[in-house]
Amino acid sequence: MKAGSNLEKVLSSGEFAVTAELGPPKSADPQVIIEKGNILKGYVDAVNITDNQTAIVRMASIAAGAIVVKEGIVEPVMQMVTRDRNRIAIQSDILGAAALGIKNCLCLAGDHHSSGNHPSAKNVYDLDSIQLVAMLKAMRDDKVFQCGEEIEEVQPQLFIGAAWTPLADPKEIRVIRLAKKVAAGADFIQTQGVYDVKSFAESMKKACDMGLCEDTYILAGIIPLKSAGMATYMQKSVPGVNVPDEMIKRLKDAGRKRAGAEGRKIAVELIQQLREVEGVRGVHIMAIEWEERVPGIVEKAGLLPRPSL
């Protein structure tokens, strides 16, 4: 065991893992975290807590993570972007997060702040996501800070994750980047939302052929669609996301009132299909401001009960 988190235990035991996403509020209200956490409790192995996603200020991922730990609700995966912190702040936050009982960290570059709600902010990007993975691994395994100084007892024991967008172009480099993330020390991978299972399976085959599926645990991303409009937006505007036309048609045909239910049905089908793809060790359900729909999707996909390890 590298960190001994529940997520690590589930994955290393060979169980098919389920994670979901929890977006912290744009306020200091802990109740929002508690309520969202309780919705997901028992339905997932761990919950990603986003870090100022889309560069919009929200409650800190570490703080929200500490709340769910303290309340004993669900295990958090703290997301950490390199957009807002330099290596000094990141390492300090990592020590603090580990001290607060957080055991998983997903390393990301983060969306550029120009599209967020503080576009006039100063850019940081001292590190990129791959370098962040390497830094956390060195803190955990080599017991050193990035500068080379030794970390005294206790070192941060984190299960280290990274993201993968297999279908963004240039596609050829995406497997190379995945290999770099794994070489840097990514214990698990959560992918961008997948709709085009065939293309995803092709990328997975390349990754598995390189031995990456043995060296890391890959969780396929699921973003439940709420409407045909959302599907069209994702198709057009989100890099690496390709929503097939027939899926958009299904949502349109369902009509406005039934589109959400159809979207959830599609999500369940995608989970079942992705489960069959070689190398997929779990799913990561990103139900954006739709956390209450995750339990139903997990249940219908036949992923209950969650293992208790």
Binding site: R83, R87, A109, D111, H112, S114, S115, N123, Y125, D126, L127, D128, S129, I130, Q131, A134, M135, Q146, A163, W164, T165, A168, D169, P170, E172, I173, I176, R177, A179, K180, A183, A184, Q192, P239, G240
Partner: protein, 222 residues
């Protein structure tokens, strides 16, 4: 070259404030090439200011002069000589020129008329693009001559990130993804091995992050 653009007239007027006798100081190198602060732009600005204040009956005097470069002592001597007789110098050089003059003029305000933007190249008439950040440790031999520090919005060293789409950056469809360009270029050069290994965490202290920089070449000193 250093690329700059002239500030809007209203902002320049606000910056000039109550100063009455002002020398508009042009620079004949980079900012002349990018049509921001050379002799021609100095004369245009002087005319605009004279007309503006003349029309309002405000008594101000605008002198004009352009030197070869405001970043070398031998060229700025004429400005230094005139200083005693002025209320302010309005420099149309890049920020280097403004600083360089201000460092040498204890009691005379030196005001900027330009916004200095970047180190860039002229892509075509009227179009300039940023190519270098002066980071102090060049890695262009590894990236096919395309600078990720300058041309990637996140300055990442192991790109492209997940925000690259159709060769464009997530910040705008008008911005090329530098890592897409690097990938295509390295592929054409048969040098893809350059980006297969992890580019380690960088030492940014060679750039502005290490504090203001100074270069001393002992072999050249007199």
């Amino acid at each position: 070259m250093i690329v700059a653009s002239r500030k809007p007239l209203d902002e320049i007027i606000e910056i000039i404030g109550d100063y009455e006798k002002v020398l508009i100081a042009g620079c004949g190198t980079c900012v002349e090439v990018c049509h921001a602060g050379g002799e021609k732009e100095v004369e245009i600005l002087a005319s605009q200011l004279r007309m503006k204040f003349g029309k309002e009956g405000i008594n101000k005097e605008f002198l004009s002069d352009t030197v070869e470069r405001q970043c070398e002592l031998e060229f700025i001597e004429p400005f230094l000589e005139k200083a005693e007789d002025l209320d302010a110098i309005l420099s149309m050089a890049c920020g280097v020129g403004v600083n360089f003059l201000a460092d040498r003029l204890d009691s005379l305000p030196v005001l900027p008329a330009l916004d200095t933007t970047f180190y860039g190249a002229t892509e075509e008439q009227g179009v300039w693009t940023e190519k270098c950040s002066g980071c102090g440790k060049c890695i262009l031999h590894l990236t096919g001559g395309i600078c990720p520090i300058t041309r990637c919005s996140k300055s990442i060293l192991n790109g492209p990130c997940g925000g690259s789409d159709g060769g464009k950056c997530e910040i705008s469809a008008d911005v090329d993804c530098a890592w897409h360009l690097i990938y295509e270029r390295l592929k054409a050069l048969n040098q893809l091995e350059n980006i297969q290994a992890i580019n380690p965490i960088r030492d940014w202290s060679t750039g502005l992050d290490g504090g203001p920089r100074k270069m001393v070449r002992e072999d050249l000193r007199l």
